[in-house]
């Protein structure tokens, strides 16, 4: 047993209002500089939708993540989808799977100075859009959240690859204008436990920090071969066209090391984000990711270790995990959501990178129906049933459980049960046996329902962010003050990186 600690995350999608404050906070600190204008280490997508970069979930096209290679005799091996060791050298000159600028969008600014410098005339002066790469005037054709809130739109949302498995009927139902529904999906780097980006890096520049599992790129070691950009199935590694290096979300490690939550967490308006430590057995990760798609979520859970188990504690201490980290793991809200209540699920675990960012799926029950222009409450009970959910469960399963409907259903059922429980408690308009039935079906007791309610609806900052006590003197030598780093590379540099020839 090789116990490792991971600072991991839960995003509660029911609470996300899609305000993009997280993206802006991240942009302001880390990617507001030449070469990184187009990068959004944190972005918020509308689902159904194509996301950023466009259709990033289409691994037939982008070739991210791992695939299982079946050998004779029942042997299963994990192989990178994008390259093998043999052909990785050919892909140094030209990587066929690397997304180009057109897959993201061309960053632009406006000629604001024209507003001041324009000579007197009959018309108001205008600020024209200019490319931030070439400086030439340009037509804006795409942006980082171009299909924001357009989930009913046939030109954008219809291209969502997760809709592939739905029947035409289900699709039609989803896109019927009155029943149109959507939710937001904020995405940062998953800081995976089995990262394909690390495995793909020819230079060995990518690594996982032993202490907290943050995946980082050593900018001094990166030689710009771009294999990681192709290998990451979440497309959360970006190529800086100015410095020729890859960059990614660093989970604001300079902030973590000084006891602050990452900027996107700290600024979250809907308070959807939770941060805590998970312990896992690094020896079993690769094997756990070889099981068939349906079993992947359960397989990942089996690798996570109970921080209260004395055996795990002694193994963790022997492995150099500090007592402070263990305490944080025992108080972790992530442990509660992922393991105690099994509410939070990984995003696209079928990429087999074992993502360590978990999502509580959104509960979107049917409330009513539009008929002859009149909205009528047609749902049976107040909350309806899961089968009538506005978002087909199959769609949710495609996102959060590699297609296993049962896993998503179990999670949604619990969320529904908590609502029944609270509604009955506060307004008393649901019969007690009805509540008991729903609670029983979900496998929840009152105590757990109450705990879920408290951590979901009333958490303080201390409840949401249980930060492990990282000591500054133990931290990375190159760590620098975020303010100092602003405007420079920000990844272990305190001065502007100079490329030279």
């Amino acid at each position: 047993m090789d116990v490792k600690a991971q600072v991991s995350m839960v995003f509660h999608l029911d609470k996300c209002i899609g305000c993009h404050t997280c993206s802006v906070a991240c942009k302001n600190i880390w990617t507001d500089r030449p070469g990184a204008e187009y990068m959004w280490w944190n972005n918020v997508e509308t689902k159904p939708g194509t996301g950023y970069p466009t259709r990033w979930e289409d691994q037939e096209h982008y070739k991210g993540g791992w695939r299982v290679d079946e050998h004779g005799g029942g042997d299963r091996d994990l192989e990178l989808r994008c390259q093998s060791k043999a052909d990785s050298f050919l892909k140094l000159f030209y990587n066929p799977n690397q997304p180009g600028l057109q897959d993201y969008y061309e960053p632009w600014t406006y000629t604001y100075q024209d507003l001041f410098d324009a000579p007197q005339g009959d018309d108001q002066p205008t600020a024209l859009p200019v490319s931030q790469i070439t400086g030439q005037p340009m037509d804006i054709k795409a942006g980082p959240n171009w299909d924001d809130d357009l989930s009913g739109s046939p030109i954008y949302a219809e291209n969502d690859i997760n809709l592939d498995e739905l029947t035409d009927e289900e699709r039609a139902q989803m896109f019927e204008i009155e029943r149109m529904s959507m939710f937001y999906l904020p995405r940062i780097c998953n800081h995976c436990a089995n990262p394909s980006c690390v495995a793909s890096c020819p230079s060995g520049a990518l690594y996982k920090r032993g202490e907290d599992g943050v995946v980082l790129i050593d900018q001094e070691k990166c030689r710009g071969w771009r294999a990681c950009v192709a290998a990451c199935p979440y497309k959360k590694i970006y190529f800086n066209w100015k410095t020729g290096k890859s960059e990614k979300c660093i989970l604001c490690y300079p902030r973590l090391e000084t006891g602050q939550a990452p900027a996107c967490f700290h600024s979250c308006v809907g308070r959807i984000r939770y941060l805590g430590v998970l312990l896992y057995d690094a020896d079993r990760v690769a094997d756990a990711m070889k099981v068939p798609d349906r079993a992947l979520v359960e397989s990942q859970r089996s690798v996570l270790l109970d921080p209260h188990d004395p055996e795990v504690i002694s193994a963790a201490l022997a492995n150099g995990i500090s007592e402070g980290f263990l305490e944080a793991a025992q108080d972790s809200p992530v442990w509660d959501y992922v393991m105690r209540w099994k509410l939070a699920l990984p995003l696209h675990i079928e990429y087999r990178t074992m993502p360590m960012l978990f999502y509580v799926p959104p509960l979107l029950p049917v409330l009513g129906k539009g008929e002859n222009g009149v909205f009528e409450n047609t749902a049976g009970g107040l909350f309806g049933t899961l089968d009538k959910s506005r978002m087909p469960i199959k769609y949710m399963a495609r996102l959060f459980s590699a297609g296993n409907v049962d896993v998503v259903n179990a999670s949604l059922r619990k969320l529904l049960a908590v609502r029944f429980h609270k509604r009955a408690q506060q307004l008393g308009d649901i019969p007690a046996d009805e509540v008991r039935r729903v609670m029983h079906e979900a496998g929840l007791d009152e105590e757990a329902a109450e705990a879920i309610y408290r951590l979901t609806a009333l958490p303080t900052q201390e409840d949401r962010y249980v930060l492990p006590p990282l000591q500054r003197e133990e931290a990375v030598a190159g760590t620098c003050n975020p303010e100092l780093c602003k405007g420079s590379c920000g990844l272990g540099f305190s001065q502007k990186p100079k490329r030279g020839a």
């Binding site: 000159f93 180009g100 600028l101 790469i133 230079s203 060995g204 001094e220 071969w225 066209w241």
Partner: protein, 438 residues
Amino acid sequence: MLNALLFVGLPYVAIFVCIAGSIYRFHSNRFSYSALSSQFLENKKLLWGSVPWHIGLGILFVLHLLPVLMPGPWAVLVANTVALWTIEIVGLAAAILALGGLGLLIFRRLVNPYVQAISTSMDFVVLALFLGQIILGIVTALSFRWGARWAPGTTTPYLWSLLTLQPDPSYVADMPVVIKMHITGAWLIVLAIPFSRLVHVFSLPFEYLFRRPQKVVWNNPRRSQARAAEVPVVEERRLFLRGFAGLAAGGALLSVGVLDKLVRFYRGPSLSPAEEAELMERNVKKLQMTLQEREFELERMRQDYILVARLSELDARRGKYFIDYQMRPALAYLGEDGLPLFISAKCTHLGCTVQSDMNAEGKILCPCHVSYFDVKTGEPTPGSPALTPLPHIGWVVMDDKDQVIASKWPGKAVVGKVPAESKASCRVFIAKEHGETA
């Protein structure tokens, strides 16, 4: 003077600057130690530019390197005509492939505004250097053919003379200008490496082939402390000991080797009686063989005629080697008039033996410094290192009754006639009376 500068001074400066500069850049600005990829900004033309360019260049690099690394096996290989043709064609195809790719790369860098946004002047210097180099290489391959054959006798010893610190520019000093420019261009490219994107050749990720997929880095000392409790030896001390042991072992090997040489040098050769007897016997045999050779030469000199070949054996394009009265190499061809054509095969430049196969223009090549000679006139092509023509040699044709029916003195008209019906049985000789003048 210019030769010493270009073929001794420049290479040493280039190699030194390349090594020292690349190390310095690695330590002073490691961040910049790569080529700046522009695939993100423009990826359609890059595919058809970069891939052919790198593959073509890789093939060319190997073909240039092999004769340097293993001149012996290489010379044996290219002695085979099929292998020679294959190598020349593959090389030329690779060069054209690389030139096409490079052309596209230059075009996109000149035209595409996105690529221009990240282009530096050094990028254009590098592209221009390579463009010139590839064109010079193609011109060399086309106008001074069979480089695979002449390289082992020219550029290979030249490079080895540089590597062994006994620089000898004379191997290449007399070569045609185009080839000299091609060699100079190579050194300029080496010189440009540490100042340009070319440093990426030193960051090729061979380590990737051997490493495990995942990588974990611990930054705090807790981990090593935890591990130290299990392993009694402190990691650093073990590393130091290991390093020291390695150094000591290497040093010991080196000093044993040096001491051995010193001792042998001062003691002089020491042989057992049996070995001495064997050595003596070998020397005697060698002397006997030399004596036989000399006698054979004398015997030849005494003869009035020496047989070269049957007339029917001579070929118009592929020469037959023979030895003339002065024991010098010469070549026998069948002339256009159906009569023999004898020409000396000893290059008038520095005395190498000229190759026997004519090229399409009816010229034969001296592989040492790339001189071409016209077989009909003996004149060297303008630009060749050789300045004086290869002399023709006189011949005598005899019929099957050993009667001289035709003969030719160099520079004079043919005397006599060879009847067509007796051609099959005729034999061609060199004559002693001609030999003195050749």
